[in-house]
């Protein structure tokens, strides 16, 4: 097992190195520069432009910049945002909990509904329920979620006025963030109604973000279950006269869950991509929106730092899933 972990890590480190290179080089290829954007319509003289570029350290050869950047990140420093002039890591940490909370809620919803739907669909294969679930899942899987979000806003916030339009909590509540997770902080604050307000704000964004993972999980669970239900040992169990509940619950489900867990793990990247759109639509103060803003403002250090941290998170989760998988299924440790 240890060699397995080491081997995985051995692959991960050069990959991460590549990620830093890509994050850095890509950003430098962006046309336009932050200094120009700062001046706006007013514009500035060539000399002043050159002077400012120098002040920000953008005038040195790219390789030199990259070298010093690597040294910086080795020391845990991702530089300072050009726009807000604050450390990138600080900005990331203040916004990350919002994205994490939204993603966790979305995954929770996705598993809560996707998993049972998939299991029941597999067990009652060919039934109306099966067809409905698969049809819904296919639609969810094909959904342009930015449009879906708009539709939900029109319906639930616009026409019915059931849910708030945007933000994380009603502005009437004010407390210092402790964990950064609004659902937890609102409980800790002890303010009456704060938690419920946070929940209300969470409903639409998490539904939108959970749409695709939910569909994927339902589909995967169903096909994994079907596969397992066809295996000999399940047939034997059935033949031995075990009740259907036991067969499904004990034997089939346990084995079917392995690929499903992997799929859930792989949704992290999907969630980040979805978060970009969801956060844009719901004005959710998280990482996705921050990245889009930073790209459009050519805030080099923020985009670089954000790319790195997001890639690091995706890679760690993938590693974790790999390890988990290796733990459950020893065979995998010995193949590539």
């Amino acid at each position: 097992m240890i060699t397995f972990i080491l081997r995985k890590l051995g692959v991960l480190l050069p990959t991460f190195f590549g990620v830093t290179l890509i994050a850095f080089v890509f950003i430098r290829l962006l046309p336009g520069d932050p200094v120009l954007l700062m001046a706006g319509e007013r514009g500035m003289t060539e000399e002043r432009h050159a002077r400012l570029m120098k002040e920000f350290g953008f005038d040195r050869p790219i390789l030199v910049q990259y070298g010093s950047y690597l040294k910086q990140i080795a020391g845990g420093d991702l530089g300072k945002s050009i726009i807000t002039r604050r450390p990138v890591i600080e900005e990331f940490m203040t916004l990350f909990p919002a994205t994490a909370e939204l993603s966790l809620c979305a995954i929770f919803l996705a598993v809560l509904f996707g998993l049972p739907a998939g299991i029941i669909a597999a067990v009652r294969r060919g039934s109306v329920f099966d067809h409905t679930v698969m049809g819904t899942a296919l639609t969810g899987y094909s959904m342009p979620i930015f449009w879906w979000g708009l539709l939900l806003i029109i319906l639930f916030s616009g026409i019915l006025r059931w849910t708030p339009v945007s933000g994380r909590i009603s502005l009437l509540f004010f407390f210092e963030p402790v964990t950064g997770f609004m659902l937890i902080d609102s409980l800790l604050s002890g303010e009456k109604g704060a938690f419920l307000s946070a929940v209300r704000h969470m409903i639409l964004p998490s539904i939108v973000l959970s749409t695709i993972p939910m569909a994927v999980i339902a589909r995967q669970t169903r096909s994994a279950m079907l596969e397992v239900l066809g295996e000999d040992y399940v047939r034997t169990a059935k033949a031995k006269g075990l009740g259907p509940g036991r067969v499904i619950g004990l034997h089939a489900l346990r084995n079917a869950l392995i690929p499903v867990v992997t799929v859930i793990g792989l949704q992290v990247g999907v969630l980040f991509a979805g978060a970009i759109l969801t956060e844009t639509i719901f004005s959710w103060p998280g990482i996705g929106k921050w990245m889009v803003d930073s790209i459009s403002r050519r805030d080099y250090p923020s985009v670089q730092g954000g790319l790195l941290l997001i890639a690091a998170i995706v890679m760690s989760v993938n590693l974790f899933v790999d390890l988990l998988y290796g733990l459950i299924n020893p065979q995998i440790r010995h193949t590539d």
């Binding site: 296919l138 094909s142 449009w147 759109l277 997001i310």
Partner: protein
């Protein structure tokens, strides 16, 4: 697609008869799946609409009717049958724009899949065939790409290349091709140990021919399924980029771009928002239905279980 030696030798000399039989088998599996057939029919309809857009569309897609800004669909009050699905903010007919937009979506799908597929196959076959250092380098490179969420990477790429339809397609293709590389590599590796490959080697088939003529055709099944799925996700991603203002640029009647332009009207003119999204959704659903059918037909194991 069974493992018997007899069939493998048949694969080796790729007789026409074998191909046709395989196709027939595939078709009968495919048509068993009603959803897939419906998807196929809808998809063909979309293709026809795209081809005959000029004939079908009642108006030119960019023609602005200055006296008909934001007219609702014909069944709503204030609508007229001249503009069946209403008009947008500068008085362009939405139906005509949707009809012409189908061209862009299909075009995006085709181009993205062709680029991603060809690059992916090239790299994947190379990695799977040669193994060793070449393999490591290619796969590490793909790992790096896969470490970024796809839309984020596409976003950065488009920002670098400049926002346009072409660049959005390039970005999406780049983001998608690692999946093809992985699939191809895995399939090639599993084929490499088969007897027919060894046999071909023994009779002295040249390396390139071995890679692309002997082995590759037997790896196509998963790739075809992947192609169908990535066709639909290319349409979705391009629409998402368009929505964020980084895809096709106005006045191109691309569906995602139409949505982005329509966003400011969500409270006032529901039709500008609803129809482009519906067009995206139905097209993508149809393609995914087809993709599911393809997968089931090409991988009968799952079907039979």
């Amino acid at each position: 697609m069974t493992d018997t030696v007899a069939e493998n030798t048949e694969k080796l000399d790729t007789r026409q008869g074998g191909r046709i039989a395989l196709l027939k088998e595939f078709w009968s599996y495919f048509t068993e799946n009603r959803g897939a057939v419906m998807g196929l029919i809808f998809f063909i309809a979309v293709i026809l609409v795209a081809i005959f857009a000029d004939v079908l569309a009642p108006h030119a897609p960019n023609q602005q009717y200055r006296d008909a800004f934001l007219q609702p669909p014909f069944w709503e009050e204030g609508g007229s049958t001249a503009f069946i699905l209403g008009t947008d903010a500068v008085g362009r007919d939405i139906l005509s724009r949707l009809i012409h937009g189908s061209r862009y979506s299909l075009f995006i799908g085709c181009i993205v899949v062709s680029i991603a597929l060809s690059v992916g196959i090239l790299l994947g076959v190379t990695a799977g065939y040669f193994r060793g250092r070449v393999d490591t380098i290619i796969m590490r490179l793909m790992d790096i790409f896969l470490a970024f969420p796809s839309l984020l990477l596409a976003l950065v790429l488009v920002a670098i290349l400049g926002p346009s339809l072409t660049n959005a397609m390039i970005a999406i293709a780049i983001v998608q091709q690692p999946h093809y590389v992985r699939l191809t590599r895995a399939a090639v590796m599993s084929e490499m140990s088969r007897d027919y490959v060894t046999a071909a080697r023994v009779i002295g088939v040249k390396r390139l021919r071995l890679m692309f003529v002997t082995i590759l055709p037997n790896c196509m099944a998963p790739l075809i399924v992947q192609a169908a799925l990535s066709f639909s996700s290319a349409i979705l991603d391009a629409a998402a980029l368009g929505f964020l203002g980084l895809g096709a640029q106005p006045p191109t009647p691309e569906w995602g771009t139409m949505l982005a332009e329509a966003r400011e009207f969500i409270l006032r003119a529901w039709w500008v928002v609803t129809f482009p999204g519906l067009a995206i959704l139905t097209t993508v659903v149809a393609i995914n239905l087809m993709g599911d059918g393809l997968r089931d037909a090409l991988d009968p194991k799952l079907k039979r279980s």
